[in-house]
Subunit: 356 residues, 2 copies
């Protein structure tokens, strides 16, 4: 069997702690499921700056190139916030990896489990319906990478939101395909009443929808989507966004679910190479206390198994183990109601492992 | 006494109905408070397209030019959605007026009254604290008006998010001044970890803060702000945004308050000329039923009295009349809990008038 090489980039803050729990699952995948996984660790982010003066050292980049996928923890922290932006862990580390590996499709499932509906900041009338949506965000184009300038002398600055038909097609294709495996409801987000890039976005997605006649496609303006998500999150299924709108909306969804510690993400390219990481950040305030929720990291691994190893059934088993563990009322600090008992990061990892 | 001329642009949908109630307040301002107000009506939006084939007819534009302020209702509706974007009521009518009169400062107060906390989609743990914030949105710059192109042949399109130091300074100045009259907490929203226009925005606002040493200024990334607003809306006071981020965040705030029918807005230029309009839209689904909430329109009038007539005390009286009316449990359909009694649009106007 061909080996599947995973580059493990734990990074900063809670990254290493929650990665430890993902390792437990990897061990099970290797030993019980006989998956030919091989892991190697590399420095990224703040720790890489401290050790090698570079958030994405040559050695890390090469390690990733020689791997089949990347399991990423989290990067960043106050310690590195004085640095020029382009050298900081988030930009030099994360944005760079996205661009270098052409990881144009960011996939972020976001669920609110009915049984855990109290986690949501929404009132129970809304939250008790739960929700189950998935954001598909374009990740290597748009205003993040368009032409930009900061003119010190003339005292102006600009950034360019630019999309080609091709870029829109390839991300929309992924969204249509994912919608087909779900409830077949796709909503594409734009600001086509003002932006020309959005008008193009809308027309390309519309044209493509003819090839996906089973999909019920709608369009929504970003400002309206921001409101509808709050009022009726349960009406959304697959949500397609540009890079900037996806940055905003996927975080809004995370806040509405109230469980950012459980949300994984996948950033993939056309060869199914992917970077898999928790949606939350490095959470310096809870670092080293053994209280962080490792579920986002474990579900990121399950997305890796699904998208980069192409083993959806085994991915589902991991997901079910997580759900079962939660149903059995094994909850980390972020998930319990006031004054209720909770389990530690490592206990959560153990429980999910046992379940699996 | 010099006359204050108000151009009344009721527009489409519920616009004319709710404007009717604002007229009642205007009558009181004229008769009881002896304010030298003069009103003239002009067509705008869909109705102007129907009558004059132009969402902003020459006659309306001239009428506005000869006035001291504009009281605006709402524009748009399905009937005109087949038209090319740039001819539609929202763009040819509203965006055009903003640009023509250089209305660079959009001011949108957004409150959740503790007594009406059940209106909010947030759970009562959060909503019972109420909130009281004000969004200051730049309205004539940024990606709404930067260079843009839709290249049919080469199949790409772009829009430019561009800001000059001067544009940032003039909107930030308004935000600092408004914060000074409130709790002195100002948060400026940007995406300075990615966008150069945001880096400029942040540095200009930072520099200005030295002249406002009484103001506690913080910066927040747009994605983080989207989450924090949901989790802790009560921690926000004055919120400063670019055009695009303000479009998104102010609508998010509106959704969180649960009472879009009560939110006014002011769009002003440096000569205190302003366009005052409800934050909600033309609401075709409830048009003509005498159930729309006229409070947003009445509070828009009170913002006009405050900013364009420079009579903050009288503006406060109107606001207090609205609050009193609500406290006395006079509520329109959008404000009542299930199966409770409600009053009509015109009754609400009458109650507020009596109170005043
Ligand atoms: C850190 C930042 C550059 C990044 C982004 O905006 O893409 C983050 O917010 C994310 O969503 O992964
Ligand atoms: C109709 C649209 C162009 C407008 C905007 O985006 O500014 C609206 O959403 C608003 O906020 O007033």
């Amino acid at each position: 069997k061909k080996k599947h090489k995973i580059a493990i980039l734990s990074g900063d803050g809670i990254g290493p702690e929650i990665m430890q729990e993902a390792y437990k699952i990897i061990e099970i995948l290797k030993k019980k499921f006989n998956l030919p996984i091989e892991t190697s660790e590399y420095d990224v982010g703040g720790i890489a700056i401290d050790k090698h003066n570079n958030a994405l050292p040559e050695n890390t980049l090469n390690g990733c190139k020689n791997s089949d996928s990347i399991l990423f923890g989290a990067v960043g922290g106050d310690k590195w916030n004085h640095m020029p932006i382009e050298k900081r862990p988030e930009i030099a580390g994360l944005l760079n990896l996205r661009k270098k590996f052409n990881l144009f499709a960011n996939i972020r499932p976001c669920n609110l489990n009915k049984k855990l509906h109290y986690l949501s900041p929404l009132k129970s009338e809304i939250s008790k319906k739960g929700f189950n949506l998935i954001c598909i965000r374009e990740l290597t184009g748009g205003i993040y990478f368009g032409k930009s300038k900061y003119d010190q002398k003339k005292k102006y600055a600009y950034d360019t939101e630019i999309y080609s038909e091709y870029e829109i097609q390839r991300i929309a294709k992924i969204a249509f395909q994912i919608a087909q495996k779900r409830t077949k409801k796709l909503v594409s987000i734009d600001k086509a009443n003002v932006l020309k890039s959005s008008a193009l976005w809308r027309s390309v997605v519309d044209k493509m929808s003819k090839d996906y006649s089973d999909i019920q496609l709608t369009h929504m303006y970003i400002d309206n989507a921001t409101m509808e998500l709050i009022k009726k999150p349960f009406t959304f299924d697959t949500v397609l966004c540009s890079n900037l709108f996806g940055d905003i909306l996927s975080d809004e969804c995370a806040a509405l679910s109230g469980s950012i510690g459980m949300l994984p993400s996948a950033s993939i390219n056309e060869y199914n190479f992917g970077l898999y990481e928790p949606a939350g950040g490095s959470a310096p305030n809870i670092t080293g206390k053994n209280i962080a929720n490792p579920i986002a990291q474990i579900l990121s691994l399950s997305m890796l198994v699904n998208y980069s190893m192409n083993l959806p059934n085994i991915a589902s088993l991991i997901e079910e183990s997580v759900s079962e563990t939660l149903y059995n009322n094994n909850l980390t600090l972020d998930l319990v109601q006031k004054n209720k008992n909770y389990i530690s990061t490592s206990e959560m990892g153990n429980k999910i492992s046992e379940q699996l």
